[in-house]
């Protein structure tokens, strides 16, 4: 694969919270960002804070992330399969910045999912964090500037935190073209001008990350590998995990990421 000249996004803040509308891609981004950060030799913890939707959460990629040395913080045992608002105590510890450790919160969808963060707004005062809003221009309710602003205001109101950056994640899964990515970037640029909040990075799945058009954008890139696979796609070779219970993929399967 040829390397494009695009700058690759790297985490620099101890705590990153990924928010946005349902299905905007928070989990794919959180998992990919965690593994990529770990691959640069940093310590990474990911907390699955999706308490509103029981499907396609990053806990489904827990085996994969642990194999890469990422610490995964989720409710214990069968509780992880419940649609209950469980927040494990380790989360509080992750609010405290630690030297050389990056924490990522994969938050539930919409303002309902972000509400959970409001309980952290006091302890987070004066501490370094980034609240990043994911934008997919091909999703209902966030395909327009007005929709994105409304979503941002809703997220901020319910989380009692401020959005510090936008993640451009415009895609149609298998039908994504470079035009879709660029269209999302254009929308995010308008959003950025309107709100004064910068674009944090642009995602691109697979081969698209190599597109020269991306290298020309004034924002770093996070290349993505699709992690959450639907069950009708052909299985990849099985991993050796003997813990069948925790390896169970209730809503899809997980593909090996960054195969060495």
């Amino acid at each position: 694969m040829t390397q494009s000249n695009a700058a690759i996004y790297e985490l620099s803040t101890p705590l990153t919270m990924v928010v946005g509308s349902y299905g905007s891609g928070k989990t794919e981004i959180s998992v990919n960002l965690a593994v990529a950060t770990r691959m640069r030799g940093c310590r990474v913890s990911v907390a699955d804070l999706d308490i509103v939707n029981p499907y396609f959460r990053c806990r489904e990629a827990q085996v994969l992330m642990r194999e890469h040395g990422v610490r995964v913080v989720i409710p214990p045992g069968a509780q992880q399969f419940a649609d209950l608002p469980i927040v494990v105590p380790e989360i509080k510890g992750m609010l405290e910045p630690q030297e050389g450790v990056f924490s990522i919160f994969d938050v539930g969808g919409d303002e309902v999912g972000a509400r959970l963060l409001s309980s952290f707004s006091e302890p987070l005062k004066g501490r370094p964090y980034r609240l990043l809003q994911v934008i997919n221009s091909r999703r209902p309710f966030t395909s327009t500037l007005e929709g994105c602003i409304r979503m941002k205001e809703g997220l901020e109101e319910s989380s009692r935190l401020k959005v510090g950056g936008f993640i451009v994640n415009s895609h149609l899964i298998t039908d994504t073209t470079i035009e879709v990515v660029l269209e999302g970037f254009e929308l995010a640029q308008k959003l950025s001008e309107e709100t004064g909040v910068p674009i944090e990075f642009v995602t691109a799945m697979g081969e698209l990350a190599q597109a020269p058009e991306l290298a020309a954008l004034p924002a770093p890139i996070l290349p993505l590998r699709r992690v959450m696979l639907p069950p009708w796609l052909k299985d990849e070779p099985k991993d050796d995990s003997s813990d069948e219970k925790s390896n169970r993929m209730p809503a899809g399967r997980v593909k090996p990421l960054f195969v060495p």
């Binding site: 209902p140 009708w232 209730p250 809503a251």
Partner: protein
């Protein structure tokens, strides 16, 4: 219109709007809650009405009221919630009201779990509630098909004045796929029909009811419903054949998203030179018995694959009139059979044919 990325649940909500339905009554339950969530946001934008009922029992009676006055109306739920609606569905069928009900199925019985299942096949197709009535039941296997069949559900409901149910497993509701919304020619408002309760000033009063105290009247009503479903059975069967051209020893029968997993398994086996056919009913009621029998003729043996404990087998038996051995493979409770699982069970069925 440009493609959009939608969850099955959202897509079902949008498809209803495109089909001219701007009234929704329902109650949240995992894994279908995004339908009411989506419609709660969208319906005010199109001048519609969204009501979160106090329960599924209430919702099923609210759609009765809305349909009775000639409104296109939708309710959606998931397995336990659908069971609660059962009484209302019988009333809707008895009163011949053209409503659409969506069941995004989760694992049962009882409270069960919140993960995908196809465990309500028999409930939807055979025993939804008391009395002699039939629902038309459609089973999509992708988000796009969920859109198309939701639109179709409204058209069928209105054509026959019969409740239509769309059943999908939790995965169909939750997964995201790019979708296109077709241009739909929405028919005239139902309120213009000669049965809708629109105020009787200047005309004789009408009645939308399922109560017939006179035995002969009720008998005749039952015969009318039976005759109506005979016409539906004649006209409205839909199915898909996959890899059914040429010769095959094994025919897989499967519906909904499970059939999609079976297709991948069939493709993998084809690469090895093993030819397997797939019969997928799209209307699981009326069941396409003749089409299934025809597809089964070439096969030595059948394999029924479902996300339940074998609820569709009896329809496949009826279709083949007991002429073929039918094996079963399925998982329940939210465990989704993998492509490898299906390949393995096809191999086992194949071995029994002597191949």
């Amino acid at each position: 219109m440009a493609k959009v990325l939608m969850k099955g649940n959202e897509a079902i909500g949008e498809a209803a709007i495109r089909a001219g339905c701007i009234h929704f009554f329902g109650y949240p339950i995992t894994p279908q809650s995004e339908v009411p969530e989506y419609l709660a946001k969208r319906l005010p934008e199109v001048g519609g009405v969204f009501v979160q009922a106090e329960s599924e029992v209430a919702a099923s009676n609210m759609i009765y009221g809305a349909a009775g006055v000639g409104m296109r109306v939708l309710t959606t739920s998931s397995s336990p919630g659908i069971s609660l609606m059962a009484e209302g569905v019988s009333y809707l069928a008895g009163a011949e009201l053209p409503v659409v009900i969506v069941n995004i199925m989760r694992g049962g019985p009882g409270l069960g779990g919140i993960l995908p299942s196809q465990g309500d096949y028999l409930q939807a197709t055979k025993g939804m509630a008391h009395g002699d009535f039939d629902l038309i039941v459609l089973a999509p296997s992708s988000v796009q098909e969920a859109v198309d069949l939701t639109i179709r559900a409204f058209q069928l409901a209105e054509k026959y004045r019969n409740p239509v149910m769309v059943v999908g497993d939790g995965m169909i509701g939750q997964m995201m796929e790019p979708v296109d919304f077709p241009e739909v020619e929405v028919g005239p408002p139902l309120a213009a029909d000669d049965w809708a309760l629109t105020g009787c000033e200047g005309r004789s009063p009408r009645d939308v009811n399922s109560l017939f105290l006179d035995a002969n009247d009720l008998h005749n009503h039952n015969v009318k419903l039976k005759d109506k479903f005979a016409v539906i059975t004649e006209n409205e069967q839909e199915w898909e054949l996959y890899s059914c051209e040429g010769e095959y020893d094994v025919l897989v029968t499967s519906f909904g998203m499970m059939a999609r997993i079976c297709k991948t398994a069939i493709d993998v086996l084809a690469e090895e030179g093993i030819k397997v056919g797939l019969f997928r009913p799209i209307t699981i009621k009326p069941y396409p018995y003749d089409a299934c029998r025809e597809a089964a003729q070439k096969a030595k043996r059948l394999l029924c694959v479902e996300m339940n404990m074998g609820q569709m087998i009896q329809d496949v038996q009826l279709a083949t009139r007991g002429a073929k051995e039918i094996d079963f493979f399925g998982k329940a409770g939210g465990v989704i059979p993998s492509v490898e699982d299906v390949i393995q069970s096809v191999r086992e069925t194949l071995a029994k044919t002597g191949k």
